[in-house]
Amino acid sequence: MNAIGHYIDSIMDHGEAEARADGSAAVEAYHLLLGIAAQEGTAAHRVLTSSGLDRRAIREALEREFEHSLRAVGVSSAAFNVPPATPDPGRPIGVGASARLALERGFSASASKKDLRPAHLLLGVLEAEVGTVPRALALAGVDRAELVARTQETLSTQDW
């Protein structure tokens, strides 16, 4: 398998572990973003961390978005005062529609399969106009358009 194949495998594996840990039934686009933030040594990782978006900061932004969205209908997750469930190490985790869309966008951002790099995949996640990722980034005060522009810049330099 080539480098990008291994990279996609590792962000999917990481995304699956994140999905399992937060009780999700499927890997969604925001789990891919966490996976991209967890893989060091890529231009995509550098773009995120230079904006203060390491894995932990993204997790916090996602939690804020979750609580914010619940609050819009008068719900707080803190009101459910039951010990958290033991995660299921064997529950099958699928690939959600938002992750599929992000991957498709990432693949088509690259001129050819041979040129596909981590930053294309980050672009695929960041270019979603609606959904959990743009909402979480906006709530965290991150300029998504600027992040997209900087990701595109790194692609023009041929960096991995």
Partner: protein, 77 residues
């Protein structure tokens, strides 16, 4: 919370995001509440009836996880 204090989502994006967040919260709550009930000695038929789903469905979804978590499960009511 009094009805007057419950915020009403104004934008479609907020209303749709609330649906996504509520689904996720409901999934998390189901896992936690089933585990709490089974640790408290409830039976599968009781949990299934309380959730309004079949015993087979609740067992299929939660049994392996609870066994792995070391919960002692009641076989019969």
């Amino acid at each position: 919370m009094p009805a007057d204090d419950i915020p009403v989502p104004q934008e479609p994006a907020d209303a749709l995001a609330a649906v996504v967040a509520l689904r996720r919260l409901a999934d998390q709550m189901e896992d936690a509440a089933v585990e709490q009930a089974m640790r408290a000695g409830w039976s599968w038929p009781q949990v299934a009836e309380a959730l309004g789903i079949t015993r087979q469905a609740v067992h299929k979804k939660h049994a392996k996880r609870l066994i792995a978590a070391g919960v002692t499960l009641r076989r019969r009511q």
